[in-house]
């Protein structure tokens, strides 16, 4: 960039909201291009939803491979500072001069944590394992999975009695546990904002006819990802949740909640590829298993079609154009019966399987939008063009997309943020923007960028 001219009202930092694959990518790409970046993540750990996936399509490679590289880049780059357990409450201002109010929940574990694990051994309280979508438990003090970053424990205060127990405090040799930690709020002064707040799985319990919540062996695609993941609740063994028995036949129900006016009106884009990929998980692990995929349209756009063809060439995988009407359980055998219509032959089908996987769609993750000049569509996704200048959306915050598209989006958003700051500087100064590193954190403590 041209020779910098100091001008205090233009803040050159970029705030990235969300530490999933889109947010991480936006933050790192901007920082490696010379920008100062703040990264804010509402959970205790970075990585977002992709960390829950066993593999990516179409390469069937592990998400942790790319996350590891991104964490290494993050640790080496002093231009990125990140906050976990933090959310944006309010945002005001204009390009080059935003004030963003951040609220940070207490982690109850400070930077002295060495991740030695002694606290976990001492903790007497269990919590449902949210990372594993409720399959299994962790202690109230936890690290969700071995690759989690930052490698500092966190305490779930919805189950921990805090000072009334305090066994972890005694167990910790490093003085890392602070049960009196309070929430705090602080302001960040930044020049541009990227929202990469991601998505959440559509609540399958709301789809009455598909039996989720009623039958233990009706699971969602994200649950299957956890079952197939080596760091998942079964260490990667795909079994029936009801009895832990191996799976011999599986039905995938596409568009579970998507393309459906009473649920999500749009197409979630990735579920067809996800189910084809998950069919491979099953077939590779259980060679005798049969996989049936019920779909409306098999959406495998562009060059991804080769993957679809490859999976369909497997005689153990059959795909059928048909909408599933209902799923019921045969009480005597514990089998699930999938009732569907084969559209091409107009035949009614009734199929018995061990496991049903609902290809639940991607819903907006915005439950409580922050105050500020943000515009959303009816489905809760950000409308970047109608949001205030200087605020950008990337990845699933603006609609359901796959990982590669989320990173494409994130990299573009990094550029747009840098451009907004450059132009704000040029406009206000009649010259180029102020030097990088102007927008400092208030009194907030920044999570150590290394671990």
């Amino acid at each position: 960039m041209p020779e910098p001219v100091g001008y205090s009202e233009v803040h050159n930092s970029i705030l990235v909201v969300g530490g999933g694959i889109a947010g991480l990518s936006a933050a790192i790409e901007a920082a490696e291009a010379g920008s100062e970046v703040f990264l804010v993540e509402k959970e205790g750990f970075l990585g977002g939803r992709v960390a829950q996936l066993a593999k990516y399509f179409p390469k069937l490679c592990p998400p942790h491979c790319g996350l590891e590289i991104n964490y290494q880049r993050l640790k080496k780059n002093r231009r990125v500072r990140f906050f976990t357990m933090a959310q944006v409450e309010r945002i005001e201002g204009r390009p080059g001069d935003f004030t963003v109010a951040i609220r940070q929940r207490p982690r109850y574990v400070n930077d002295r944590c060495t991740a030695c694990n002694d606290c976990v051994a001492a903790c007497p309280v269990d919590r449902p394992d949210r990372f594993n979508l409720g399959m299994g438990v962790t202690r109230a003090v936890y690290i969700p999975y071995p690759m989690a970053f930052p490698r500092k424990y966190a305490i779930d205060d919805s189950v921990c009695p805090l000072e009334q127990c305090a066994k972890c405090v005694d167990a910790c040799s490093y003085g890392a546990i602070d049960l009196a930690m309070q929430p705090k709020t602080f302001d960040l002064k930044v020049g541009a904002v990227v929202f990469a707040t991601g998505w959440q799985p559509y609540d399958a319990g709301r789809i009455d006819n598909l039996g989720f919540g009623r039958y233990a062996d009706v699971i969602t695609n994200m649950m299957l990802e956890r079952l197939a993941a080596p760091d998942g609740p079964t260490r990667g063994r795909i079994v029936r949740p009801s009895d832990g028995k191996p799976v011999r036949s599986v039905a995938f129900v596409q568009c579970a909640g998507s393309r459906d006016a009473s649920h999500l009106g749009y197409c979630s884009s990735i579920c067809c590829m996800a189910s084809l990929k998950e069919a491979v998980y099953i077939r590779e692990q259980i060679p005798e298993a049969k996989v049936h995929i019920f779909y409306i349209d098999l959406r495998t756009p562009g060059p991804l079609e080769f993957f679809s063809k490859r999976v369909q060439a497997d005689p153990g995988v059959s795909v059928m154009k048909g909408k599933v009407a209902a799923i019921v359980e045969d009480r005597s055998t514990g089998e699930l019966i999938v009732q569907a219509e084969d559209i091409l032959s107009s035949r009614k089908i009734s199929l018995r399987v061990d496991l049903v996987v609902l290809a639940t769609g991607m819903a907006s993750s915005v439950d409580q939008p922050p105050e500020g000049p943000l515009a959303y569509d009816n489905d809760g996704f950000l409308l970047p063009d109608e949001t205030a200048p200087g605020i950008f959306a990337a990845g699933c915050a603006r609609g359901p997309v796959d990982v590669a598209t989320a990173v494409q989006d994130a990299t573009a958003a990094a550029l747009k943020a840098m451009r907004a700051i450059h132009q704000a500087g040029a406009q206000r100064n009649g010259g180029p923007a102020a030097p990088a590193g102007d927008g400092r954190a208030g009194k907030a403590e920044v999570d150590s960028a290394a671990e």
Partner: protein
């Protein structure tokens, strides 16, 4: 200890280290290795890090060897204001993964420390390659992606040279009549945004546009490329720092659609032809210029269809929807049939699809075309199969529109003309796209400083091309910034070292230049290697390739690795104490070994682990060194190779596997069994499998018996 460095050795007792190994003995070993300062602490990552800082500040030491947790954690705590730091992984890879307080665990800890001290002694501070860089970006291609990249970079303070081979800007999308709806409620077709983009490009003071121009040659390296741009027979040479390649796409050769009657029947046209008619203001039947009463829009994507492309379109369905709307507006009362296999309307485009479905004059039917023929009246008769209309369904139309596939321009003709030893264009992925091989890193290029964007990278719609153009501009800017700092780009971002050659011993064999995945090494007229540091990604594959071992980095060299191997103490006279050398890729295998420790999985304590930048950087002499030194086995752990390779340096494992021929020769010469050395693919999530994998290898080696060279 052959080093000029004053080393401080810091042995941490935290996280179970003190309870599992004899740290006092480790400290004694450090003293014996003549480190001037040796200290212990219950936790060096807390207050005691200050002890290290004081020793550095006081000049007692100039390099710290910290024997504590893995170098992958606490990187900021132990970054020590940029002083050289060597981490010895006692926590994850010793005490968390081996039985505490045993002789073998202790000996592993000691060897790890010895290797760390040697490594520190052999590490020199890097001197970065810093050269002036051109803050200019060359954009090749003036379509949506290229124009977006140009404006994005220019608006961010860079100057831009935009080269377009046609006489006008706009690319393919520029000729379109209307665009798909991109905003809620996704109902109305949109004005073509391209004319607005063209005006923006043409009026931008920082963008210089060359029309009817081509890149005659592109030479140099990131930061300092020279582009020879040829226009009207004259050539201008310009300096640019980075390149965005946005050469777009072309419709598949319509001759390939003959099976659908194209070329035979006048009223069988392609979607491209229909779009041209719409843009020209009048849609008409080619045979008589008249109106159509029924039109079939056919998506030529049948699985049996050899004529089109091996991949589906991701916009063909949307084009079909858009053109159905055109037709309904052009011809009152027309019936439009959209014949598809799977409607590809992902995301919010579903709303557009639903909206079009509500038009009672547009009929959607799944089906594949068995045949198209013209009857005497000039009507086209379509026979369908696998259709919702039932077996043998027929359809009559007086116009048929074929959805032609999109082919990347890269596959068609050269556009960059790089003066690189390894070819003039970006290497292509499946189906001829100039794409990255990585899902997480869609702009990971094999030609540093050159980033593809738009439909040359993947088939995509206009909004995605705009995103892609902006993203490629970011990568171009980033590359220029890194070139200025002399720093590597992803994945070894920030690395200031680059390969140095001891030229007196070079035999001009050229292997380094052939094996470099990034074409960073050229050969001069004497066939001697010349490195372009800004193209280099610091993988060390050249170092692994060189048969006379003349290539090294300041902090990574064959001498260093070989000295580390020699630093391991070989137990003598005890056949049970095998020694297995593990060279582990730092991106996947090494973190996987850490994970095994974090999960407290146990694997044999007779392994000695050395991280390497890439398996491709392992010179076969190292393996020979290890076996002649007495190692009983060598496991080389790298990333997946093959079509869906995972190696960020493209083919590290494969290259090493080829070099194994040399290794096997050495083994043969020494009368050692080939099974003692193996290359193993390890993904980062394979940590659960590592104990079994290593255990099995140890068993194999155990059966072979100890290496007879031990002690020689």
């Amino acid at each position: 200890m052959a080093t000029n460095r004053k080393l401080g050795v810091y042995v941490c007792r935290g996280c179970g280290i003190g309870e599992s190994v004899d740290t006092a003995r480790l400290e004694r070993i450090a003293t014996e290795l003549s480190a001037p300062v040796v200290r212990g602490s219950p936790a060096f990552c807390l207050e005691d890090v200050q002890l290290i800082k004081n020793d550095l500040a006081g000049g007692e030491i100039d390099c710290a060897v910290i024997a504590a947790c893995s170098g992958r954690v606490n990187t900021d705590v132990f970054s020590l204001d940029g002083a050289p730091v060597e981490r010895v992984n006692l926590r994850e890879q010793v005490v968390w993964s081996h039985t505490p307080n045993t002789e073998e665990t202790q000996s592993l800890a000691e060897d790890s420390l010895r290797m760390g001290v040697v490594r520190a002694g052999k590490t020199e501070s890097p001197v970065a390659y810093r050269q002036a860089a051109d803050r200019a970006i060359l954009v090749v291609g003036g379509g949506v992606a290229g124009m977006t990249a140009a404006v994005a970079a220019a608006d961010t303070g860079f100057s831009v040279v935009l080269v377009e081979k046609e006489a006008t800007l706009g690319g393919f999308a520029g000729s379109m009549h209307r665009h798909f709806p991109t905003h809620p409620p996704y109902a109305e077709l949109q004005e073509n945004p391209v004319p607005r983009m063209i005006r923006e490009v043409e009026s931008h003071p920082a963008i210089r546009v060359f029309l009817s121009a081509v890149i005659e040659s592109l030479e140099g390296q990131p930061g300092r490329f020279t582009a020879a741009i040829c226009r009207n027979g004259s050539t201008e040479r310009l300096g640019v720092g980075a390149v965005v390649m946005a050469t777009g796409w072309k419709p598949v050769d319509a001759a390939r659609l003959q099976g659908y009657g194209f070329g035979k029947y006048a009223n069988v046209i392609t979607n491209v032809m229909l779009e041209r008619m719409a843009s020209g203001g009048k849609i008409a039947r080619p045979s008589d210029g008249g109106e159509a009463r029924s039109v079939a829009i056919v998506q030529c994507e049948s699985a049996a269809d050899e004529g089109n492309l091996p991949y589906g379109g991701n916009v063909a369905s949307l084009v079909a929807l858009k053109q159905a709307v055109y037709l309904r507006r052009s011809f009152p009362g027309v019936r439009v049939y959209v014949i598809y296999q799977d409607m590809q309307t992902p995301g919010m485009y579903e709303y557009f699809y639903k909206g079009v479905q509500r038009d009672p004059g547009i009929f959607f039917t799944r089906g594949e075309i068995r045949s198209i023929a013209e009857d005497e009246g000039g009507s086209l008769l379509l026979e369908l199969e696998n259709s919702l209309l039932g077996p043998g369904a027929r359809l009559s139309a007086d116009l048929v529109v074929l959805g032609a596939g999109m082919e990347p321009a890269a596959a068609a003709e050269p556009s960059l003309n790089l003066r690189y030893l390894q070819g003039g264009e970006l290497p292509q992925t499946r189906f001829g796209f100039a794409d990255s091989n990585f899902i997480c890193f869609p702009y990971e290029t094999r030609r540093t400083g050159i980033y593809s964007a738009g439909c040359v990278r993947q088939p995509m719609d206009v909004p995605a091309s705009e995103q892609d153009g902006a993203a490629a501009a970011l990568k171009a800017i980033q590359c220029i910034e890194n070139s200025l700092a002399g720093s590597a780009v992803h994945p070894r971002s920030g690395d200031l070292t680059y390969p140095k050659f001891f030229m007196q011993k070079c035999t001009s064999c050229g292997r380094c230049s052939q094996e470099c995945p990034f074409s960073a090494i050229q050969l001069d007229e004497k066939k001697q290697p010349v490195v372009d540091p800004n193209r280099c990604r610091r993988c060390g594959i050249c170092m692994g390739a060189c048969p006379v071992q003349i290539i090294s980095f300041e902090d990574y060299s064959i001498d260093m690795l070989s000295s580390m191997i020699r630093a391991v103490e070989m137990p003598e006279g005890d056949d049970e104490k095998l020694r297995i050398l593990v060279l582990a890729c730092e991106n996947d295998a090494y973190p996987a070994l850490d994970m095994a420790g974090i999960e407290r999985l146990r694997y044999p304590a007779n392994v000695r682990i050395i991280p390497v930048r890439c398996l491709g950087s392992v010179n076969s002499i190292l393996v020979a060194d290890a076996v002649s030194r007495g190692f009983d086995g060598v496991a080389l752990m790298g990333c997946k190779s093959g079509e869906d390779y995972q190696c960020h340096f493209i083919q590290g494992s494969q290259l090493l596997a080829k070099r194994m021929d040399n290794v096997q020769e050495t083994l043969q010469r020494l009368a050692l069994e080939p099974e003692r050395v193996r290359v193993q693919e390890v993904a980062i999530n394979d940590y659960c499998r590592l104990p079994a994998m290593l255990g099995e290898f140890v068993d194999v080696v155990k059966k072979l018996g100890p290496n007879p060279f031990k002690g020689f």
